[in-house]
């Protein structure tokens, strides 16, 4: 066996590591460890020149084991394995010490950080000596992709995948796809009608042969991993048989129960059997069992009696569908914060204080007022206030900027001015018009005579005349002002959906501190997540406007396609095996394996591991009383050595 020559590479990660960890000191320390032939530190190990360092040391200095101390192995382990393989060294002669996520980013004291980094490097060096060469294995990639969420990002992703000839499922929680975009009136800065550009895409989804659309359905369980996700989808009882329903609408028109419409933000009523909006896809109703008389009181049956197609089915039950997918795209979107959490803004207390999404419905030609801006009493307001940053950029609610409110604030100001004349005030802190054509749109709205007051609307109060009044500092003048208006529109923060925590748990996605889903890398992997094969697109990752959501949907489709069209997927060689000499055939391991990968060989009286089925968790190994089981790359010897070394520093 050739002499073991370990190369150790300590990464600065710019200043990410080097600011806290004394890199040179760690490097000097590594050089003293047994078996270490080369120890270097370098600015960016993952960059080309960094990789080249490793290659050259392997070729020129006989390095045959490699330790890189840098970021999480969950990020760059595959990168460095490839480096080894590119010069003919087995990729598993490699170990990573995580001195960024686990050290420099989480430690206050540089001395403590440096010491911890040394311990982790020592552990990695000790361990890598005992590594064995392993061969990658491949499994067949399932070709179908799952898209979760039928807003604009999910729709775009599904359409792109379908266009490539691959099959895709689109799962939407509501009775119709369309998401938040379907509620909007015009879109900034071009003032395209939102429905006019969205509904053709929605129809394409319904018509595509490659898309299987499941509305009123939720993903409840995901097992397996990239290439072979086993997903359980709960189809909620719609109480309407979609195969029979013709969408004629008789049921809805005859239904006697009225409920505030979620789609219209409660400004109009819908029925208990309803399609959320006229252009819904599928354009077939669902029964809201919480309000339906048939379910609440136990008798009614009007819709069932009147349905000419016999499609109404009160006995429908929730149904679980299980399917295997190669990749998953999550596009579950955002929700608008309920501004009544801040009573100072008057929402819920004053009837003419609306959220921006409610106001979108008010100015929408297909909305509850036919596009006329009206107060509760039916009169046209003479002055409207639009309050920016309601709950955004505010540590009491959401610290982050909601990113699209500045622009829709301008858009709504323009629409209000156009539809009702009168005075329109924007109360803002900063106007962030960063996109293409956005600043130009701001200029246009300025020219239209909309008032801009730089100051955050502090409160909406009733003045002595019974009118609403916005109290604010005009910060550019340095003066306190009370501006009387008839209606106030609150640009409430975009926040993670109420069920984001559950969705994250089910799909194994991380969330950032703001509660939105976390991407694998903020710059270079904006669509990937920490789980291979699970991608995110659109506002579930953070607030973004329509062009960005569409781009992300298409991008996520490309990510998924690049996986599924490869046909096969690499799977880890980390699997268990039995040392036949030592196995006593006690069968303790057999029931422990969740994949039933271990079987008892009656003839030889020993247990065997089915390598095709084993996933490498090592639970069996930990329980083997005779020490006959072992799991590759996580052997007892390797872990013992790692314990010894990390404990010694």
């Amino acid at each position: 066996m050739p002499e073991i020559r370990v190369g150790v590479y300590i990464c600065h990660c710019g200043s990410n590591i080097a600011d806290k960890v004394k890199v040179a000191e760690v490097c000097d320390f590594a050089a003293t460890l047994p078996g270490v032939a080369v120890a270097r530190d370098y600015q960016y190990m993952c960059a080309d020149p960094g990789q080249e360092l490793i290659r050259r040391d392997i070729q020129e200095r006989g390095v045959n084991r490699v330790v890189v101390a840098s970021c999480s192995p969950r990020m760059h382990e595959p990168t460095f394995r490839k480096v080894l393989e590119s010069v003919g060294l087995n990729g598993y002669y490699f170990e990573m010490a995580n001195i960024r996520e686990h050290v420099s980013w989480v430690t206050e004291d540089p001395v403590a950080a440096t010491r911890k980094a040394k311990a982790l490097v020592a552990g990695a060096v000790g361990r890598v000596e005992l590594h064995e060469p392993l061969e990658e294995r491949y499994t067949v990639m399932n070709k179908t992709t799952l898209v979760v969420g039928g807003g604009i990002a999910g729709i775009e992703a599904a359409l792109k995948i379908a266009a490539s000839g691959n099959s895709v499922w689109l799962v939407e929680k509501e009775p119709s796809i369309g998401g938040n975009m379907a509620k909007l009136d015009k879109t900034f800065p071009t003032l395209d009608c939102s429905a006019c550009i969205l509904t053709p895409k929605m129809v394409s989804v319904a018509q595509s042969e490659n898309i299987k659309l499941l509305t009123y359905a939720e993903v409840v369980k995901v097992d397996g991993c990239v290439g072979n996700f086993q997903v359980t989808i709960k189809k909620k009882a719609r109480s309407v048989d979609l195969a029979k329903c013709t969408g004629c609408g008789i049921c809805t028109s005859k239904c006697v129960v009225k409920v505030p419409s979620e789609f219209d933000g409660g400004l109009a009523m819908r029925k208990a059997i309803y399609t959320p909006f006229p252009q819904a896809v599928p354009n077939k109703p669902a029964i809201d069992r919480e309000h339906c008389r048939q379910f609440v009181v136990g008798k009614c049956g009007v819709c069932q009696k009147l349905c000419p197609a016999g499609a109404v089915d009160y006995d429908q039950v929730d149904e679980d569908v299980t399917e295997t997918f190669g990749a998953i795209i999550v596009a579950t979107g955002y929700q608008q914060m309920d501004p009544s959490v801040g009573p100072q803004w008057g929402y819920g207390r004053h009837e003419n204080v609306l959220t921006a999404l409610q106001f979108e419905r008010l100015v929408n030609a297909s909305g509850p007022t036919g596009g006329k801006v009206k107060m509760k009493n039916g009169e046209t307001p003479k002055a409207i206030a639009i309050l920016h940053c309601v709950g955004s950029r505010d540590v009491n609610y959401h610290e982050s900027c909601s990113r699209f409110c500045c622009m829709y604030g301008l858009k709504l100001a323009h629409l209000a001015k156009e539809k009702m004349g009168g005075e329109v005030y924007n109360f803002y802190i900063d106007l962030r018009c960063f996109g293409k054509g956005y600043e130009e749109f701001y200029n246009r709205v300025l020219d239209e005579g909309v008032h801009f007051i730089r100051g955050k609307g502090a409160e909406v109060i009733t003045d002595r005349d019974g009118r609403l009044a916005v109290r604010v500092e005009d910060t550019l003048l340095g003066r306190w002002r009370e501006v009387p208006v008839d209606m106030a529109v609150l640009s409430a923060a975009a926040e993670p959906r109420a069920d984001a925590e559950r969705v994250a748990q089910v799909l194994g996605i991380q969330r950032s501190r703001d509660g939105f889903f976390l991407e694998a890398h903020p710059k270079l992997e904006p669509l990937k997540t920490a789980t291979d094969g699970v991608f995110i697109a659109g506002c579930c990752q953070g607030p973004k406007d329509i062009p960005d959501s569409v781009a992300q949907g298409a991008g996520a489709a490309a990510e998924a396609l690049s996986l599924v069209t490869a046909g096969k997927v690499k799977i880890s060689p980390v699997i268990a095996g039995v040392n036949e000499e030592r196995c006593s055939g006690c069968k303790v391991c057999v029931p422990l394996c969740p994949y039933t990968a271990i079987a008892y060989d009656e003839e030889k009286k020993i247990c065997r591991v089915n390598e095709a089925v084993c996933k490498g968790c090592g639970t069996c190994v930990a329980s083997c009383p005779s020490g006959a089981l072992s799991v590759k790359h996580f052997t007892n010897q390797q872990i013992f050595r790692q314990i010894e070394e990390v404990a010694a520093v």
Partner: protein
């Protein structure tokens, strides 16, 4: 229910009617008040303006004394404060002590110099919080013998009972007093300015400004037809009541709005004798209120 009672300076002088009525209703509610021995002034909002740190030390001395008060061996002593300003200043000191390491050190050392120690386990509650949350509205309801039927009451919280922390109710639109008055049978006026400030000590130093704030409050209360404003703080009572004629002079108005402590209204609803509640001791006569109640 036994509490370490912190009356504060006002309740011993200008707000003696508040203390009288508090003392009258608490036994009915099963609330025992054990006055903290040798308490000192909380500092109000004046001393922080002179020395923000020393004011916290002064307030903290009371907390240290409270922790030493015998309240039947309860696990942690709870201070009952009736004055909102005292409540806020005691809470301020306690929060500094609990959450700001530098202030904790300083307060601890200063108290030690006077031979006192503070564990920080003490809780501070406003009397309204105790009645609504600890006693509970059900228990209050059971005591109502003469409901305030037909009496339109504007529930006025002022600032310091709900801010800066909003510990027991919303900092912007609290409801505890609204709910309590409703249980007493009163018709509660929706009072939008319920947490606006009465000006506090500014009545002495910036009278013109303070009168404006009080006029705004009186205007909303009277335009909504209130018969009386219910208050939870001596400062609010003094500014709205004793200075009401100054408001009228300055603004040419004719308000005659009685301003009563919520404890007085509770006592009346419980059927207690109005003398025990010091009812009638307002600058603006309470007669109209009593008449409407048929007392």
């Amino acid at each position: 229910m036994r509490y370490a009672y912190y009356p504060g300076c006002s309740l011993k002088s200008s707000a003696y009617d508040y203390e009288r009525s508090t003392r009258a209703i608490c036994p009915e509610l099963g609330v025992e008040l054990e006055e903290i021995h040798d308490w000192n002034c909380c500092g109000a909002t004046a001393i922080p303006s002179v020395d923000p740190t020393a004011s916290a030390v002064l307030a903290a001395r009371n907390l240290a004394l409270a922790e030493a008060t015998d309240v039947n061996g309860a696990e942690a002593v709870t201070v009952a404060a009736a004055c909102s300003s005292c409540y806020a200043m005691l809470t301020r000191a306690l929060n500094y002590y609990r959450e700001d390491p530098a202030m904790r050190g300083l307060i601890g050392q200063a108290l030690a110099a006077g031979g006192r120690t503070l564990a920080g386990t003490v809780k501070v509650k406003h009397l309204l919080e105790i009645i609504v949350n600890d006693v509970g509205l059900e228990a209050v309801k059971a005591l109502v013998r003469k409901p305030l039927s037909g009496l339109k009451v504007a529930p006025y919280y002022g600032c310091l009972i709900v801010r800066p922390k909003g510990a027991f109710d919303d900092a912007e639109q609290p409801m505890a007093l609204d709910r309590l008055l409703a249980v007493l049978g009163a018709q509660v006026v929706p009072f939008e300015r319920k947490t606006k400030c009465c000006g506090g000590a500014l009545m002495t130093t910036k009278e013109k400004s303070a009168l404006r704030l009080n006029e705004d409050l009186l205007h909303e209360a009277s335009s909504k037809g209130a018969d009386v404003i219910a208050v939870v703080c001596p400062m609010c009572q003094m500014n709205l009541d004793a200075y009401q004629s100054n408001v009228n002079t300055a603004y040419g108005t004719h308000y005659r709005m009685p301003v009563m402590y919520f404890t007085q209204l509770m006592g009346l609803a419980f059927g207690l004798n109005e003398r025990r509640l010091a009812v009638g001791k307002g600058t603006v006569s309470h007669a109209a209120v009593l008449k409407r109640m048929g007392v």
